[in-house]
């Protein structure tokens, strides 16, 4: 009887301490990210490179997915609601599902699969190769030089790519509706604008910022847990990706709760 209780206690303490460590680490990175002094020539160069790798390199694939997804999704949604006699709700459905839910989620999934795993591996490899010690030896702060540019790039990438996804989906959706159902631009734009609410857009923006922050910060933190052995790299990436997925679910649930309050 005692052993299961001890096990649960140990697990709970472990989770709580990991969570509090994560919060402390987050606050340290966030504080540095808000300081102007952090952004020197070296940090800016890393930030530009990270933005290129995270946002620009992925653009062709991202736009292709958005356009294909947009045409098919908007077309099938319109067909379904037309059959139900609810065609006038198209704007509300598109704003409520595509802009506020689908865009951040698809964007964050793509960036997590592509960049978060790369960041986790990169930091773990640097730890194994003693390259973090190199930075220490030359008094280069790893938070300023390595972590802040990656986190800022993650936030900016999720916000901009999410906006781009919404624009691409809605535009390609309009083209599809125009060609197949003969819907005019005025009706479509009017529907969307009437359904847009400031609070929804604000919550979506905050959600994108939170997603961007944690999908880069968690892999960095996990990368730092790698030991001096090469075999610790896949373990660190595996744990990092699972934690990112858990964080994504928590953020999504919290945003839904806030929206319904």
């Amino acid at each position: 009887m005692v052993e299961p209780i001890q096990y649960i206690g140990r697990k709970t303490i472990g989770i709580c301490s990991a969570f509090s460590e994560m919060l402390v680490f987050s606050s340290r990175v966030l504080t540095r990210a808000l300081k102007r002094k952090t952004y020197n020539s070296a940090t800016k160069m890393v930030l530009i490179n990270q933005l290129y790798f995270t946002s620009v390199q992925v653009l062709p694939l991202f736009l292709l997915i958005s356009v294909i997804f947009g045409s098919l999704l908007v077309g099938s949604v319109f067909q379904a609601i037309k059959n139900l006699g609810l065609a006038e709700y198209l704007g509300k459905i598109l704003m409520g599902s595509v802009v506020t839910e689908l865009s951040p989620f698809v964007t964050v999934m793509l960036i997590t699969l592509r960049s978060s795993s790369a960041i986790n591996t990169e930091i773990a490899v640097m730890k194994v190769n003693k390259e973090l010690k190199t930075l220490e030896a030359f008094q280069i702060d790893v938070i300023d030089y390595l972590f802040v540019p990656r986190v800022v790039s993650g936030i900016l990438s999720v916000v901009f790519l999410s906006a781009l996804f919404s624009i691409a989906v809605l535009s390609s959706g309009f083209l599809f509706l125009n060609l197949v159902f003969g819907m005019s631009a005025d009706v479509y734009a009017g529907d969307l604008l009437n359904s847009a609410s400031f609070s929804d857009i604000l919550i979506t923006l905050l959600k994108c910022v939170t997603f961007g922050f944690f999908i880069t910060l968690i892999p960095i933190r996990q990368g730092l847990t790698a030991s001096d052995e090469l075999t610790s790299i896949p373990v660190s990436v595996l744990k990092g990706m699972v934690n990112v997925f858990i964080a994504m679910v928590i953020i999504e649930v919290l945003s839904l709760i806030i929206r319904f309050i």
Partner: protein
């Protein structure tokens, strides 16, 4: 209080910034050679990237190693790697240069001629240099001065 006393007792040069060259302080593998060398000036002095790149190109020219400008650590020969590490170390302003176990980096060298040649190429960029090595390596240095 005791710590402050101990710090005051240290020779002044020990309090100067150190430019380290060691196998345990490797080059950053996801940065090009020029970025590795320029990093210290860019970070500590906010030197703009194009200016830093020009400076690195001029320094590499001293060793006739301009071709390694855009290369990364795994694609360098041991001599190139040593020179890049040396250049990175002398980027620390007013530094005391510390070279630790140079023959771990220059593993195929039987004597210190290359080491001395490299140091003399950049001797205007550091104030003092100390080389630390195992005692069993001393013949490698002895060969050079003929003792």
């Amino acid at each position: 209080m005791q710590l402050q006393k101990a710090l005051r007792a240290l020779p002044q040069e020990c309090l100067q910034p150190l430019g380290l060259v060691s196998i345990d302080i490797p080059l950053i593998s996801n940065l090009d050679v020029w970025m590795n060398i320029a990093l210290i000036r860019q970070y500590h002095e906010n030197q703009p990237a194009p200016e830093a790149a020009d400076m690195v190109r001029r320094l590499l020219r001293r060793f006739n190693m301009e071709s390694v400008f855009n290369r990364r650590n795994p694609h360098l020969s041991e001599e190139e790697r040593f020179c890049v590490m040396l250049l990175r170390a002398v980027m620390v302003p007013r530094s005391v240069l510390i070279i630790e176990r140079p023959f771990e980096i220059l593993s195929s060298h039987g004597d210190s001629r290359f080491l001395h040649m490299a140091l003399s190429t950049v001797n205007d960029l550091f104030t003092k240099c100390y080389i630390f090595d195992y005692t069993w390596q001393k013949n490698k240095y002895g060969l050079f001065d003929g003792s």
